[in-house]
Symmetry: C2
Amino acid sequence: MYPSDPGYAPSFDTRLAQAETLCQERGVRLTDLRRRVLEIIWSHPKPMGAYAILDVLRGDGRQGAPPTVYRALDFLLEQGLIHRLASLNVYAGCCQPGSRHGGQFLICRDCGQVNEMNSPAVENLLCAEAAAHCFEVLTQMVEVLGRCPDCQRGTSSDVG
Amino acid sequence: MYPSDPGYAPSFDTRLAQAETLCQERGVRLTDLRRRVLEIIWSHPKPMGAYAILDVLRGDGRQGAPPTVYRALDFLLEQGLIHRLASLNVYAGCCQPGSRHGGQFLICRDCGQVNEMNSPAVENLLCAEAAAHCFEVLTQMVEVLGRCPDCQRGTSSDVG
DNA sequence: TAGCAATTGTTATTCTATAACATAATTGCA
DNA sequence: TGCAATTATGTTATAGAATAACAATTGCTA
Ligand SMILES: [Zn+2]
Ligand SMILES: [Zn+2]
Ligand SMILES: [Zn+2]
Ligand SMILES: [Zn+2]
C-alpha cells in the first residue's frame, strides 16, 4: 500500500519516525517529553485535551504540571506536527506534517470522531476569496461539525 | 444605498430592528438583557469576550455574573444573531442574520479587526468535499488569520 | 388570582491556559 | 575538559473562559 492509495494510513511508528526526520532536518529537538506527548496524541482514537494528556503523562510516573504539557504542545504546533481544534479545545495529530497548513477538520457531533480533510481546492478557493477582499492569508482554520458515515448508518463503534 | 450595493452597511438601529423582527417572527423573546448584550456587541468595533461584555453590563449599573452574559450569548447564538470565534474566545455580531450559517471570518493578526466574509462558493465547495467523504455537514466554521488591507498598507487606525 | 414555564440572579466550581521564577540538561567554544 | 550561554523542564501561583446548581423573579395563561 502506497501513500497515494485511498485508505492509506501510515503506522504509528512510521509517523513517529517521520516526525523525528522532520525535526532533524529543521535542527529542532524532539525531546523525550515532546515525543511522548506526540505518542500519546497519536495513540488515542480521538483528539485530546491538554489536561487529559497531562493525566497520561502522570500515569507514566513522570512529574508534570500544566506548563509541562502546554510547552510540548506549543512546540508540536509550531512544527506542524499537531493541530489545535479551537471549537473543542483539543489537540489532534497532523496526518500530513510535511507541508504546513491550518487544517480542515470533519468533526462528528455524535461520536466525536475527527477526520483531517485538507482539500487543496477549499484552501485555494478560500485564499482567492480572501484576496478578493484584499486580505493577506497567513493561516486558515476550517472546522466542520456534522455526522460521520458510521453515525449516519448507526454503525458507529464510538470508542470514546 | 441598497443592501446589494458594495460597501453597504446597515446602521446600528437598523440591525437591532431587524433582530427584533426576526425574534418576533420566530416567537422568541428578545428581552432587555438580550437586546442590551446585542447592542454592546454591535456598538464595539471588534468582537468582545464574554467578560468584557459583563464589564459593560455592570457599568450600566446592572447586576450580573458570568451566567448572566453566557445565557444571553447562548440565546443570540441559537438565533444566529451573533457568532463565536473559537480561536479567540470572542463573540461577533452576524452581518447577515436572516439566513443561518456558521460564518467565515477574516481576522487581522495585527489590529484584531474581524470581517465576516461568508462566501457561498466556499460554503458550497466545503459541503461538496465533505460529501465526498460521506460526511453530513451541520455547521461549518472558517477562521482565516492574516493581515487586513489597512495593516498591509500601514494605515490601520487600530481602535484597540 | 393561582399555577406554570421561561428568564434572571447568585454562589460556587470546573476547565483551559499562562506568568514567573527555579532547576536541569544541552550546546558551543576556549 | 571546563565553563558560559542557551534551551528545556520543574514548580507554584494565577488568570481567563465556561458551566453547575439552586433561588428568585417575571410573564403568560387558565
Ligand atoms: Zn494537518
Ligand atoms: Zn460519528
Ligand atoms: Zn453571520
Ligand atoms: Zn489589521
